[in-house]
Amino acid sequence: MANQAMPFSRSEMLPPEPPPGSAVGVVGWLRANLFSSIGNSILTILALALIWLVLSHVWPWLAHAVWNADSYAQCRQIIADTWGPDAGGACLAVIRERWKQFMFGFYPIEAYWRPTLAFILMFVALAPILFSALPRKMLWFSLIFPGLAYWLLWGGSIFVPIVIYAGFAAGWLGFHLGARASAAFVAPLLAAVFALVWWFFIASPLINLLPDIGLMPVQSKQFGGFMLSVTIGVTGIAFSLPLGVLLALGRRSDLVFVKAICVGFIEFIRGVPLIALLLVASFLLNIFMPPGTNFDIILRVIIMVTLFSAAYMAEVIRGGLAALPRGQYEGADALGLNFWQATRLVIMPQALKISIPGIVNTFIGLFKDTTLVAIIGLLDPIGLITSIRANAAWNGMVWELYGFVAVLFFVCCFGMSKYSQYLERKLRTDHR
């Protein structure tokens, strides 16, 4: 009885065996990701060889960098003395010597604090727009920032931006006076009339009357370096988004003529290269204006860059508008919202959210395109490189200068694209 085998039955689960050593940890990761097949192993080895090739050239070059020298020849001399005659090394002394020029161009040295302050304040102004957690009252600062930045950068009397801003106050006053009238169109009409009368007839004599208290004026031709890129880029970005929204709405409008204007504008701008528009800005804009008008060159460039990216922005936003389900439009209509209410409260928030990646890509493109101003003779970082390379002391330098500017742009553009990815994740509300 006793040796009659009891049928075996396990009463508890066996603990799982640990996976084989080749499938976990570093070895497992390597096998899965780098050496999963013979072909993959060969690719991995080739890639490692490539990385080694690049690093073996770049690392000594950076390690031998010279920061203190007066010319390229002296740099090479120092490197040859220290590391032997065949050693290569970066001559970063040129960056050190020209750092201020790269940042500010020929802006007066004693006024460097002004663009710096404007740059810092820009982040304060941007913060409430980018991060919704911040108090809404900060948006008032965002509103006054453009005038403040203009005053800081170009200097002149403090009353110029104040008087121009007062035009908005005049418009607001007109709106409130008109709001008492029975007809609904009176209020916006009065607002426009008040503001325009203020800007065209009152502002200029008033500025002349007021005392000239303010900062030392700086001329546009003294602008340069990275500051110029940021000025053009940020202004273009700030104005092209609202303009692009209007163009996109116009393109989808039922009003045949308005639609035709918008389509014509967008297709024209998208059909010609930016450099052609910049040439128009530098050669032709004065011909198109009343005789005697003399526009500031940076202002002309900003106008053209803004129009250019507004057309691209319009196409991006049109894509967002087209991607919205029809029910959203019909729902807004069913609630009795008029066109602008529906657009502002229902359509645009969703359409803009869909188009965020495209909008940020347009911003990045705009910022990169600010370098084209070098071709019409403005001294942005690339224009400065050309002039530095023409200088006898730094003749023949390639990698240091282009590398430096490339890194500057890379940091900005890469940062923007990472922010757009963050925003996309944050705003994603569908549950896929």
Partner: protein, 404 residues
């Protein structure tokens, strides 16, 4: 229904232009029309006044005058005695040349890198994304200038190829020399009888078409697939090469080092090389992203279903994934081609004579006819972009999924 009837029977009053949505749109459009016409009228008025003040007229007669400047790289015969019009034509052809070369190269680079970014090999995927981010986030102008500087300052001069132990050597079996003046490459010379070779080549193209049709019909009928790609490739090269071997009409002229410089072969100017590859690498990064996005957009179920049908991986790619991915890839791809063409207008910074450098550059400065030159130049770019976008619309409607 009754309400609208009553509404429409209401007599028209002037106020309805503002308050009735049916008429308000007309008001708005008329106002917009007047505003736009006023604006253009104002600009034309200013332009006429300004041109008059400057003592200029508006005519295109300068296109028939002698240009008087040299262009280093031309596709059609041109001397400095030619007219401004001919210089503009040289520029247009040069623009089209660099745009074509750039588009082809960018597509190859982009597709390759886009596929590599999806590689299961971690390192390769990372390297490909480093390439993409590096080129996408730095202005193309910088790449053009940097490439030009690299060619000028780091490639060897032709004299470096001379001597017993020369410091530089030619590539691909002594046929290609990369120098700081540009690339010296073998160049075909069309001797007498080249028409025979060309005819054979055209016949082989027709043969490829017929063969593909036959292979398709055969696969539909029997289910057996022929190695279409390899046979097409053989048909493309072999007959023409064989014909040339018999006739001996088309020969390759290989550059050889003479006393001061390379002789023979063809010189691809360094400005063209720099522009071509900078544009191709830059646009290639964008194309890589488009290709990656297109392939990733095809749902996993498609490849799994194809696998369940018993297709091999490369057949899954060519028969199931790619035909669907191309529908997503092609439209943005074409707009990248358009961008590349427009970016080629940066040629002036490396001294490549494209339409912006000849018509919108030297001709404009010499004749002082900014308005006419700009109009012509923008008209040319507009024409190209409208042609390409109508092509794209046609393609889009031809491949669009027919739904509902």
């Amino acid at each position: 229904m009754a309400i609208t009837e009553a509404h429409s029977r209401e007599p028209f009053r002037l106020g309805m232009l503002l308050y009735d949505t049916r008429y308000r749109s007309i008001t708005i459009q008329i106002i917009a029309l007047i505003a736009v016409l006023t604006f253009f009228g104002w600009i034309v008025h200013n332009t006429v006044a300004n041109l008059h003040a400057l003592g200029k007229t508006f005519d295109f007669g300068f296109l028939g005058q002698r240009a008087g400047y040299d262009i280093s790289q031309t596709l059609i015969p041109y001397t400095n005695d030619s007219t401004h019009g001919r210089a503009a034509l040289v520029g247009i052809l040069n623009t089209l040349l660099v745009a074509f070369l750039g588009c082809v190269t960018a597509t190859i680079i982009g597709v390759f890198m886009g596929v590599l970014r999806l590689s299961s090999n971690w390192l390769i995927a990372r390297l490909a994304s480093v390439y993409v981010e590096m080129f996408r986030n730095v202005p193309v102008l910088l790449w053009i200038l940097a490439l030009m500087a690299i060619i000028t300052d780091t490639l060897p001069a032709p004299s470096a190829f001379r001597g017993e132990n020369a410091s530089a050597s030619m590539l691909f079996g002594d046929t290609v020399a990369l120098t700081n003046r540009g690339a010296y490459v073998p160049w075909p010379i069309f001797g007498p009888g080249w028409q025979v070779v060309a005819g054979v080549f055209i016949l082989s193209l027709i043969a490829i078409l017929l063969f593909r049709r036959y292979a398709h019909a055969r696969q539909e009928a029997t289910g057996q697939a022929l190695p279409v790609f390899w046979i097409s490739l053989a048909l493309f090269f072999l007959p023409a090469l064989a014909a040339d071997a018999v006739v001996g009409a088309v020969t390759l002229d290989v550059p050889t080092l003479q006393r001061f410089n390379f002789e023979g072969g063809g010189l691809i100017d360094k400005s063209l090389v720099a522009l071509w590859f900078a544009l191709a690498l830059y646009t290639g990064a964008f194309i890589a992203e488009i290709v990656r996005g297109g392939i990733q957009a095809i749902s996993r179920g498609q490849s799994e279903a194809a696998g369940a049908l018993g297709l091999r991986p490369n057949r899954i790619m060519s028969l199931v994934i790619l035909p669907q991915a191309l529908r997503i890839i092609i439209p943005p791809l074409i707009s990248q081609y358009l961008n590349l063409t427009k970016n080629s207008s940066l040629a002036i910074v490396v001294g490549y004579a494209d339409v912006r450098a000849t018509l919108g550059g030297i001709t404009m400065n010499q004749t002082g006819r900014e308005l006419e030159c700009m109009l012509l130049m923008m008209g040319f770019y507009l024409l190209i972009s409208l042609a390409i976008s109508s092509l794209m619309n046609w393609y889009n409607s031809s491949i669009a999924l027919k739904e509902r």
